[in-house]
Subunit: 369 residues, 4 copies
């Protein structure tokens, strides 16, 4: 296409979508090696559909990551970022729903062509790996299969591309840096951490005294109530103590830096302030994506169990057990989930000083017209 | 590919799925004519996904129609036919769900590339027309758009293919013939129509007398109750009278022949008899497909309203109104829906003679071992 | 319950949820009048579930309306309003999904208890009417059934409550007033309507000239392209001319005032500005709700067709046709859908003057620290 | 209600559904102990909805179990059994979908009323336990929480009811007995197990020879192919050897008896024979239910993680970890899943002798008219 296309030239649906190519890319292997297996068509088509969706997810995700690569994320972009993350959640819902279609291939029908596929397997999906790596799944946290590095099934070039992607900032890291830049935490008129710490202490004290003062709880009941508070206490401790947090980081039990965690906590607690409304949605959407991904992985594992049982899968993988483990372990935004552990009731929230409240508002509504 | 592929040769996921082709078929027009529009990628991909699914639907539907082309449908195939119809319903559910993704393209974003698409439109989807025609939508019943025959947007060869498909037996016609062959309607020991007629009469009589005998209903309430019965009566009449049925056929108000309607009625009423259990499921699945298709059409119309409003659509179509009308008019198995109007309560069902019951059972369970 | 409950007193799940009451509210009529019909249980339970969800929808909707009743809607509330509208969309999705369950009652099974229900029908759902009225469905726009006012099936008190609700501001009216207060439309440094009008003219001119200048379009093709522009033109006209708009209001073809329409248009066009990001979401969620409601109505109609055919329904209603018409006519936020017709490409958007851009931003990001 | 209700007496929707009771069963605790928490309403309503659905599931499940309690399951009932199992899958899909609604309660909002609920928790849902026990979850296979027997949270009477249910035949056991009665396994003209064993041997031999004979596989590739076969071999072994099967039963690795497993295998392999079409569907629906239940449990666990983090939950439970384990361990029809491991390709299926084929057909189609 050496010259610019003519803008008003008519274009036909079939050409625009390159349907001749797309609809001619289903080459069944079963008719060549034996009898044509009816369901091989579905098997091919559904995987092509998955790959098309992965391409779109990568397209959206990359555009969002681009927005966050700058040290000053343009506030005008946040709406679009949230919108595209939301699109990804809609796509993931379709991906989950599609498993219902895949499961219409019964074990007996799958055997009609399974032998011809070896070792092709989803394990070899380059795009899916890209999605995982771009979101923030590092190799050291991966469930391995037979101790084989996940990138060995790819070409040298693809392998390099994944490697480079691992070394660049992932979505998780970009968000971490963005959270670390939250500007409202240390101010002359408001020290967020101090205020939060005090609020937590107050809250726990009040609860302890109130429980103690009841005349309708038995000693055992009181103790149980106290224990519940205590355990919560432990969780709060890690936020209040930077060293403990860093220990957990080193052990791999946490992934977000101390500073980023404080930023996320602030956003979650004061989410109603105008400047934090969209950031709160942004964090929520990342958690949505994580949740949908783990649901997809879990359903995928169940589907494999159903269709091929615990046989060694195409690709030599043991299928079910490996996939089940990835569902459980490959959480990416787990730390954002954990923020919920650190919430305190609205009634206990430290009141923000007027000037800070103003800064969290719109220019227009603060009276600056 | 002149020689047989080597059966045990390894095949890679990427090659098997021809991903190089499939993932290289997204050619955005916006970057050539102006600025790249982010959402054009989604627009292309989702339509390609729709087309891939249409290919699978055609694949499944054709295989089922093949089974019904024979005058003696092999009973061993009915399970598979039901299974594949069910697969089609699962796919249609995904197609409906995908509209949620498409709707993430906002009106403003669509404008960024809408101009470059003219006159490409879903109106030009050859495969979708094939699905409609194969199911049984005849041209004379189609909602037309600007009075243009639907096939004019296709190549001569495609046009001919659609024409031939129209002239061959559709799924609806194959089912009609199959229903007409229902063997249990006219027998020495059981005349289904007579028995049904008598049961309907009895039922209506009993109801009328019972209503009349109440002492707690006012005259007006009695009349209302009577009216309700009467109206039901009218519906029953068309089944009991072949001439009336044929009149409605001629007017296009019905599509299934009198004989086929009786067959469908018999299956619905005696669906618990072993030999009718799968046929009942088969009819139900066809109604499911009809319902999902009309739902998809309706949601599609709403989506068009949302994204392009009532502007003239790409392709010159007025979009919303045309699509809304297709949702309402393009029912294919409407007559099977209507069967519900002819049901009578189980308690009124004519008892089947022993020998007929035996014939509706399994060889094994009748004591023939 | 005369005194305050003890805060730390243990409460059991069963008591908290009042399950003894809730799970003892399924009184089947079939066993009293004839044989127990297995599916009557589902029929009762699913309708109770619907009513419980309606209660929640009313609870959420009322809380949002409360926020908008004030002339100065607190910006801190908008996030919550969007969140709760989103919850309503999630609930509506469940309501749509539940129709799949309801459709497992086959026509034959429904007949086992249908007679005992007369004239009970969804037509008598007080809460559903409340949802409709609260959203903004006025009686004069209602599809009537047998010309009977919809409120006649309710008690005097309920009837009055609906009447009062009709006379109070609905969600639609509250949004209209809120939109009318959009403060950025008439300013010394920016007259939105003028700027928009000019942009539209420019855009159409440019298109016309460009089409005319092509050497690869035939005269007919040029004419078609011109016609498409023209028709769009007509739509734009009503926004640019207050009198035309008011005429359409009088005819009932539009519902939002001229001023509110301009506000909605401004929000949609400049949705990326920080202060408009949440309002844009708010409008989108209202459209989502409208779309889900019409989908639910449409599926509901199809379900009635399937289970009782075109018989007169329980409640004396002709069911299918009435319900189908409500799906099509009972759109509430149709005008917001129509906004899409008025969009212009981002490239044509009038640039906002600096001071206005500042006013649409956060206090903090404008450099006011 | 001492006398028979009047059949034609009008009944109002509100009365029929006992809405006064149902809609008056939402008693929020938050307003009594502090400020009214908006989301407590949703929390109560959604759990009531869950319980209503559980009631329906129990209603359907019980009716199916009743059918299978007889030693001669009436073939006319199988269609209804499949239909009701399918209904349960539709309900379970709604239950999964509802989690999306529940997740609109954010961690911060939940804290507004969480303290008032202690120790109420889903752990105390009597009906859910009934569903689990009726399906076949025995106490010894349960994930325990803090080593507390699950029934301790119930009243004495409820506890006894659960105990009795555990001791009666569960759905799993009823199906096991039904499968054990499969009549076609040991016949003069056909010994299923022998035939199957021979087919497996043949198949594996053929594969081994074919792999060995290739000239394009390296020694390592051949070995890998051989290993894959070998491992499959091991799985087949347990079916072919009754003692090995019984060992696994004793270890709890399997739950279905040897005989029942053979029955299920036969049904899966010869599912196209008319008499096996519905039994095949029945087994598939049970697997569907298992899969939906585990999906629901998994999503439930993720939701708890999201809303309350890893805090000790209401009810004192550690929530997430406990729930995650139940998702993985509380499979009920796992053995039916495993059948897929024992499938052999259709091309290898032992041919059934004519008389047996006849017995698997309908009386009518065998020529006995």
């Amino acid at each position: 296409m050496s010259e610019i296309k003519k803008k008003y030239e008519s274009v036909h649906y079939t050409d625009y979508l390159q349907l001749k190519k797309v609809l001619d890319a289903q080459h069944l292997r079963s008719p060549e090696h034996g009898e044509a297996a009816h369901d091989e068509m579905l098997f091919i088509i559904i995987h092509q559909v998955y790959e098309l969706w992965f391409k779109e997810v990568i397209h959206d995700l990359s555009s969002i990551m681009e927005m966050f690569r700058n040290d000053n994320v343009d506030e005008n972009n946040i709406g679009t970022a949230v919108h595209r993350l939301n699109r990804i959640t809609e796509i993931l819902q379709v991906l989950v729903k599609q498993i219902d279609v895949l499961e219409t291939i019964t074990p007996l029908d799958f055997l009609d062509f399974r032998n011809y596929l070896f070792p092709a397997s989803g394990f070899q999906s380059f795009q899916f790996r890209k999605v995982e790596v771009a979101l923030g799944l590092k190799e050291k946290y991966r469930e391995t299969y037979n101790n084989i590095p996940y990138a060995t099934v790819f070409s040298e070039q693809e392998s390099k591309e994944l490697h480079d992607l691992e070394n660049a900032d992932s979505m998780l890291q970009l968000i971490e840096k963005w959270l670390e830049r939250t500007p409202f935490l240390h101010r002359n008129d408001f020290l967020f951490l101090e205020a939060y710490k005090k609020a937590v202490d107050n809250m726990l004290d009040k609860e302890r005294q109130a429980i103690d003062a009841t005349d309708y709880l038995t000693a055992a009941e009181k103790q149980m109530r106290m224990n519940m508070l205590g355990s919560t206490d432990t969780f709060f401790a890690s936020v209040l103590d930077e060293n403990k947090h860093n220990e957990m980081l080193n052990k791999g039990a946490l992934k977000l830096s101390y500073k980023a965690t404080l930023g996320a906590l602030f956003i979650n607690l004061y989410r109603d302030e105008p400047i934090l409304q969209m950031p709160f949605q942004l964090l929520s959407k990342l958690v949505d994506i994580d949740e949908l991904l783990t649901t997809w992985r879990y359903r995928h594992a169940q589907m494999v169990l159903r269709i091929i049982g615990r046989k060694i899968g195409t690709g030599g993988s043991s299928g079910f057990d490996y996939l089940l483990n990835t569902a459980i372990k490959h959480h990416i935004f787990f730390d954002l989930h954990n923020i919920s552990t650190l919430m305190i009731p609205r009634s206990e929230l430290p009141v923000l000083p007027d000037h800070l409240k103003k800064q969290l508002s719109f220019y227009f509504t603060t009276g600056n017209k």
